[in-house]
Amino acid sequence: MPSLKLPILGSSGEGSPQPRTQWRSLDERERGLAPSGEFPPGASEIGGTSRREFVQLLGASMAFAGAAGCLKLPAEQILPYTRQPEEIVPGRPLHYATASTLGGRATGLLATAFEGRPTKIEGNPEHPSSLGATGLFEQASILQLYDPNRAAVLQEKNRPRSWREFLAAQHARANALRTKDGGAGLRFLLEPGSSPLIGELRARIQKLFPNARFRSYTAVSDDEAMRGARLAFGAALETRFDLSKARVIACLEADPLHPWPGSIPAMRGWADKREPGPEMNRLYAVECALSVTGMNADHRLRIRPSRLLPVALALAAKLGSAGGALAAFGRLGAKARLEPGQQRFVDALASDLRRAGRQGVVMVGPRSPALVHALAHAINSSLGSEAVSHQKPVLHDTETGADGLAELAAEIRSGAVDTLVVTAANPLHTAPYELNLATALDAVPNSIYRGLYQDETAQRCAWFIPATHPLEEWGDARAHDGTVTFLQPLVQPLFNGVSEAQVLAAFLGEGDKSPYAQLREYWRATRADAATAWEKWISDGFIRGTASPAESPQVRADAVAAAAQSARFETASPALELNVVPDYRLYDGRFANNVWLQETPDPVTKLTWDNAALMSPATARELGVKTHDAVDLGLRGPPVHAAVLVVPGHADGAVTVSLGYGRRGSEQNAAGVGFDVAPLRRASAPWGGRGLTVTRLGRRHSLAITQEHWSMEGRDPALDMDLSEYQGPGRERIEEGRVPVATMHTPWDYSKVAYKWGMAIDLARCTGCSACMVACQSENNVPVVGKGNVEKSREMHWLRLDRYFSGSEEDPRATAQPMLCVHCETAPCEYVCPVNATVHSDEGLNEMVYNRCIGTRYCSNNCPYKVRRFNFFNYTYNQEDVEKLRNNPDVTVRSRGVMEKCTYCVQRIERARIDSRVQERPIAEKEVQTACQQACPAHAIVFGNLHDPAQEVTKRHGDERHYFVLNDVGTRPRTAYLARVRNPNPELT
């Protein structure tokens, strides 16, 4: 099968992948040469003038060539296959299991492809890290695949080179190094990884170059956690949490309710126990800046970062005061010197944890000091927590942080490094300031960087190798629990990318070997059952039963206590503290060019296209600044220009900034967005420090915030109540939200149609993480509008996450609410449309017909939920051809001047309808899932047929907590919300 470039489920593994060659060069593409023989002709049909034709009909690589020429032709054309791959039926999507990695751990994915063109990413329901859901990063990674800013040319000092030239050059040099001193001048700085294949390659390289040295680096490292584990257990162990077994959860700067790598199971486990009742869990959060987890906490203690250790110690002391395993800590309570309010919180938490016993758990975030981790281990161990288990590290390296980088920089400066291979994601951007990595890299004679973009690191390295996107490469990795997971490419590298394994193989003289062959051979050699099970592994996306076994280490409470005893606590001082966090959207900056993520509002601050200096209202008053004020932040180094954003619930006396901005690479979308926090960070204190200065600049830096108004103004759009209120007067509030409102018109009779579509959103489950927003954007071709338009309130998200604050601005209660078209049965938008462009379907959907819309915008005015979006400009006009390939061919790309809004993913309904009718059967429950529903890690959103009483959505529509937003307006929505109920500790209320 020479023509098929795509990995196909169940097809012969040997045949499908081709050796990866430089299938075309950049200039060829620019000249728009016709497809040649070396081209993968695995394409179906090419459209001509119309966007969808071309997108619907093209195979990815074909389109690339055809686009420029065909778009201008007045007539439309069809390019059929020359030899049709039997799996591909034009117009029908195929789904492949694959994975993406972040922080070295894999999340299993299912990717949808139309004629060889990946268009959408979903979670792999069987995979332990995904459970069918995805986070923002996974959802948005599809956009990165088609990012026209991606580097496409292998370069040596800005001169294009071929892969073979690279191999030749490195081969000679490496040989010289090896013979000289066993490769003592060879250094690898890798992205932290868990790939067994890479592990093997590393071992082989190490054998060949005994004096070479491997290091991993990432800005968001687990170093402190590992140190904590060493302190507590005497060994580096990773901790796994199963929150479905926890009733009392204490998060110390931990943020498990946002889909960070490996968080999805925790989110699911937490959400599954939010049903009001005796089994309901209780979440405590202790943190500086309001986090997603903090928004969902039943109790939250805001503290400056330096106070975390005292709080943790006080907690251990309180728990140990009655003797038991923690008795050693009992006398350390006084050392913590908590304020009375904090002490009260800790006391209540301690007694709650004690009551919960095996169902209690303490979680600590990766940025917290090792001792806090150790204390948590001691507490969890003393509780006998069932929610916690330990495993050997999944990553190859237990040290992935700034310390290793500092050592490397020192080595370079000492002249010990000749060849440095960097595959870590842009370390130059996130490296601590004092390392001055840029000049260090300049000093390396032979530096090699593999990256997706010509970023800051690329600019300082001699060689640049374009990287493959996870959807372009064969590979493997391990899930957060150690499960072996496979990465399967859906498309030939669009930008001549090279995988990390290939770069390493180059040092073994195997740079020519195809990534597929590498992987296949490794696994054939590693596992005896590879011959028979290989295809199943690839089609499943992972090997079942490969999760790491649980270890049962003993906590050395005395060692921890001794460490705590000797720890020096910062005394209370008025000095301002800095708190650095990874960004909710850009992570450490690697997603900075991803416009979907840039435009997704931060789940907490609702800020887009920027980072900001977050501070509490009191601190802002003290500093005499307000939101949008430009300030200089200074800590130890040169000042950083930032903009102030006042956030309720932030700890006083501290300023929080996030990583990932102020990029200076070649990524166009990232340029000029936000500020780089690097000058504020030190290898010894990467996450902050004391003595921050804030200087007003007297200028204004306008921040694009999608939700300016925080208060619900006494209205009840997002019901959020305590359990006691819910069991008492709160019922009435909920019922008020669902009493039928008198109407002049006889309600339409939907009983005769087979399906009555509806949705239900459980606010108790929703954490506000915003993964659904990106999923919706991806599924529905929702355009990005840019900072200027977001400032003008013109963002296009069909689904937005409203975030309200109530209570005091110091300790507010934050409530997130996904808000999307609720498909009112008496939709106010419809009767005002003069041209029938928005009407009701026979099944009760509020339809939006883009091609009929003339854009009066009256519907938006009359929409009480303001969920309609208007194309103020032609937002897709500048889409490059390669970007168009990403568009979902089942959804019209909207032109300028038309309204759009959530359609309940009607394209999925219609596809399922046609399939079910062709097969003469009804549509089954999970057959139609909306994109938001599918992505949601917490199962907050369900969709289905309200005629079927067995479906989850119907059950939720009958739930005691269900209500309709703005029920009193009489819109009769099809989307029901389930009131959020919090479970506060009576001792604290």
């Binding site: 179906s44 119309s50 059929p80 296959y81 020359t82 339809e847 009607v906």
Partner: protein, 219 residues
């Protein structure tokens, strides 16, 4: 001394007013309305040149090849699909394998470059048509594509306007036929009355539920 205007100006004035009315009413209203209904605009009756002189008269009419032999995905997908080059060569590696008319086909196969066909039935990008469901519910090929077996070069037969689609979606019984007869170019149940009777029967039998909700076609 004579009047300001000559007597002929009365007639001229009236004619001018009449002309203006015709120009406005006809040129701005009636003209465009007629034009969009004419084949000039719909591109019906306009045989499209193709890179290969493929004659449906011969393949369908004379040889009686099943439409689905080449248009393979018509029962499975929204697209009927244009056959891959290899499908042509299933036969033409044996028959007419030296014909100069088939040179582009062989060229395509051996160079692995697709044949570039010109599209005949174009729908706007906001219209989602699905072949599989129509075939399944007993809509004949000929109902929309016309007598392909009589076309030397394929031409657009139906106007493919929304109104034309609605004709059938509102009254499917006027067009339905047994599933076995879907590909028949000549099937007829008799007169109009028989068609209606057959259509009503098939509508019930196949559970045909044509919809006129917008999202049926526009998404």
């Amino acid at each position: 001394m004579s009047a300001l205007f000559k007597p002929w100006t009365n007639t001229a004035f009236r004619l001018a007013l009449f002309g203006l009315a015709v120009l406005f009413g006809g040129g701005l209203i009636a003209g465009p309305m007629l034009y969009v209904r004419s084949p000039l605009y719909t591109q019906q009756q306009d045989p499209i040149d193709q890179p290969v002189q493929f004659d449906h008269r011969h393949h369908v009419g004379d040889e009686g090849i099943d439409c689905r032999y080449c248009h393979t995905s018509v029962e499975k997908s929204s697209f009927a699909s244009v056959p891959a080059t290899s499908v042509c060569l299933n036969c033409h590696s044996q028959v007419w394998n030296k014909s100069p008319k088939l040179a582009p086909v062989r060229e395509s196969f051996f160079s692995d470059r697709p044949i570039v066909w010109n599209k005949v039935n174009k729908l706007p990008h906001f219209v989602y048509f699905n072949h599989s469901i129509h075939v399944k519910q007993g809509v004949g090929c000929v109902t929309c594509h016309g007598r392909i077996d009589q076309m030397a070069q394929v031409e657009k037969w139906a106007p493919l306007t929304m109104g034309w689609c609605l004709d059938c979606h509102r009254n499917p019984e006027r067009f339905l036929r047994p599933r076995e007869e879907v590909i028949s170019m000549t099937f007829t149940p008799g007169g109009e009355k028989e068609q209606l009777a057959l259509g009503e029967r098939l509508k019930a039998e196949y559970h045909v539920a044509t919809r006129t909700s917008c999202t049926t076609c526009h998404r």
